[in-house]
Subunit: 308 residues, 2 copies
DNA sequence: GTTCCGCATGAATCGATAG
DNA sequence: ACTATCGATTCATGCGGAA
């Protein structure tokens, strides 16, 4: 679980302007984009996002704190208040995203009182009302999920990666995530060609053989909307690091070199690491000081902003 | 994707009472359960379901017609009217389901106008208002999904299997679907047994041997909420028959021998075949005459009901 | 250098117990 | 009654140490 302690603490005043901000501001209170790039910024989303200029981010990729009540120390947002908490953040995300940009939201509702909670699907509906398009729901199939046994359910082995955009026309570079065709696929091709022969004999589906021959010549295939990756078990001091392959996949799919990726709940910095490995620029925001420290060590950057 | 022609044909009057019904009726208009068992009943859900006695079904398992515009010949229910169309059916399903029964709804929203449609998640919220509990969302990860290429999305390789119940206490037989443990397990077992032998020879550590024997006996593990099954390629004249393994998995999980399984949109009869293979009783309903014929041939039953 | 093995550990959930 | 806390359950993965 990602930590945003105090993010739902009503006693803390929400500071939308930060007088001691160590970056320049323009007339609208935005910082120059270059001052924010490749930084892990410590602070609350609702404080930090207003500093970012409008329509300068190519991809927003984040795994916000999940709602649950498990760990009081680390807080977490209450499930029943989740939509209300998230919507103003999403409004800022919409402002900073380029018109052709994408927003990937990795989330999964917990089981509460024996039922799956509905706040995630309610959030989808509300985000659409806010103007987002719900383009797709990618499924992250976790190879190694949390153990446990209960009378009413099995272990939860998948999470949602919701894809939202500002427009129906958006940037997508599908070739960047093509995968090699495995041996099983070659076998399948062989089988298909046999089926194709049979169908030719029965004079059904004439155009099918043509497609098969095209497939054989290819050694790369497009993936599906299911990602099959293991979670990272290694201890990074962060209890919920997704595997770096997950952000890398979406970054390759939706951005080009030197494009800007924003993660408003960057946690231990996995999204930033993915950006560095792929030569993208990142803006990372994290409320928790400890996670910030971990993230900054991982990205090895000396100049990092602290808002409060 | 299942198709049910004419199911959204407003010209056909909705017949809630069927005078020529070839089964006896009680004072409430219900048929004796035994008259309905192991039958493929041709007719509209809203006509047939009222014949079924209350609280006699152990499992409802269905893949209703999806909303899409792809195939005009087979129609399908319009996406914007889907929830309104489904809710009265769900009310009848709730009536016929036993208090400890389960309702598995296999469904996936299509992409319409470039977006995933929201009728499925709206349906979840409405079903909860109707009194259903949304216990779980199983993910059917399709090994071989429908081919295609689009600029804004990849091929859709997963579908939802929504699990609803009437109560939070319900029947679930998890041992019936246990799976062999992974390879890591076998390696460990081999090594442990060698160690165990050595220790037996040297007569050291009796308590340890006990643990080993416990592990050795356990070569099966509980599955997760992701099913990784291939779709059936064989053409049954049905545009989207799910693989028989899918209903079999849920039938084993939620029913015992001779329990009653209802599929109100049985299509080409896959659910009935699964029931026969597992020695369960089924009630199948299908509007389309052609599918009915296919289903009846598959289950090999001579006496089948036609309502109109 | 490789390979292999042992072990800790995870975005969990339920039910019982305690306050 | 209702909420908070705690123990029990469970398995794929990666890391470190060893052969």
């Amino acid at each position: 679980m990602r930590d945003v302690s105090k993010s739902n603490d009503s006693k803390k005043p929400i500071v939308h302007s930060v007088p001691s901000l160590p970056v320049d501001e323009d007339s609208e209170g935005r910082s120059p984009l270059t001052d924010l790039l490749d930084k892990i910024i410590q602070g609350d989303c609702l404080d930090v996002l207003p500093l970012i200029p409008s329509e300068c981010v190519d991809l927003i990729l984040t795994s916000p704190p999940y709602a649950n009540k498990r760990n009081k120390t680390y807080g977490g947002v209450n499930a029943d208040q989740y939509v209300t908490w998230f919507l103003p953040i999403a409004a800022e995300l919409q402002r900073v995203l380029k018109p052709t940009g994408s927003f990937i939201l990795n989330i999964k509702e917990p089981a509460i009182n024996g039922e799956r909670h509905t706040f995630v699907i309610e959030l989808i509906l509300e985000l659409r009302k806010q103007g987002w398009f719900w383009i797709e729901e990618y499924c992250w199939h976790k190879k190694n999920c949390y153990p446990g046994k209960w009378p009413n359910r099995f272990r939860d082995a998948w999470e949602r990666c919701l894809h939202f955009t500002k427009n129906k026309q958006f940037a997508m570079y599908q070739e960047a995530v093509m995968v090699p065709m495995g041996d099983w696929r070659h076998q399948r091709l062989r089988n298909l060609s046999e089926t194709d022969k049979q169908r030719d004999n029965s004079k059904v589906g004439s155009g099918f053989g043509k497609n098969v021959s095209n497939w054989v010549e290819r050694d790369m295939a497009y993936p599906t909307n299911v990602l099959h990756l293991a979670t990272e078990c290694s201890n990074r001091g962060h209890s919920a690091a997704f595997p770096v392959e997950l952000p890398k996949w979406f970054i390759k799919l939706f951005t080009l070199s030197n494009n800007v990726v924003l993660d408003p709940f960057i946690g231990s910095g996995t999204t930033a690491v993915a950006c560095q490995e792929l030569n993208r620029r990142f803006i990372g925001v994290e409320l928790n000081a400890e996670y910030c420290s971990i993230a900054r060590k991982r990205v090895g950057n000396s100049t990092q902003l602290t808002l409060w």
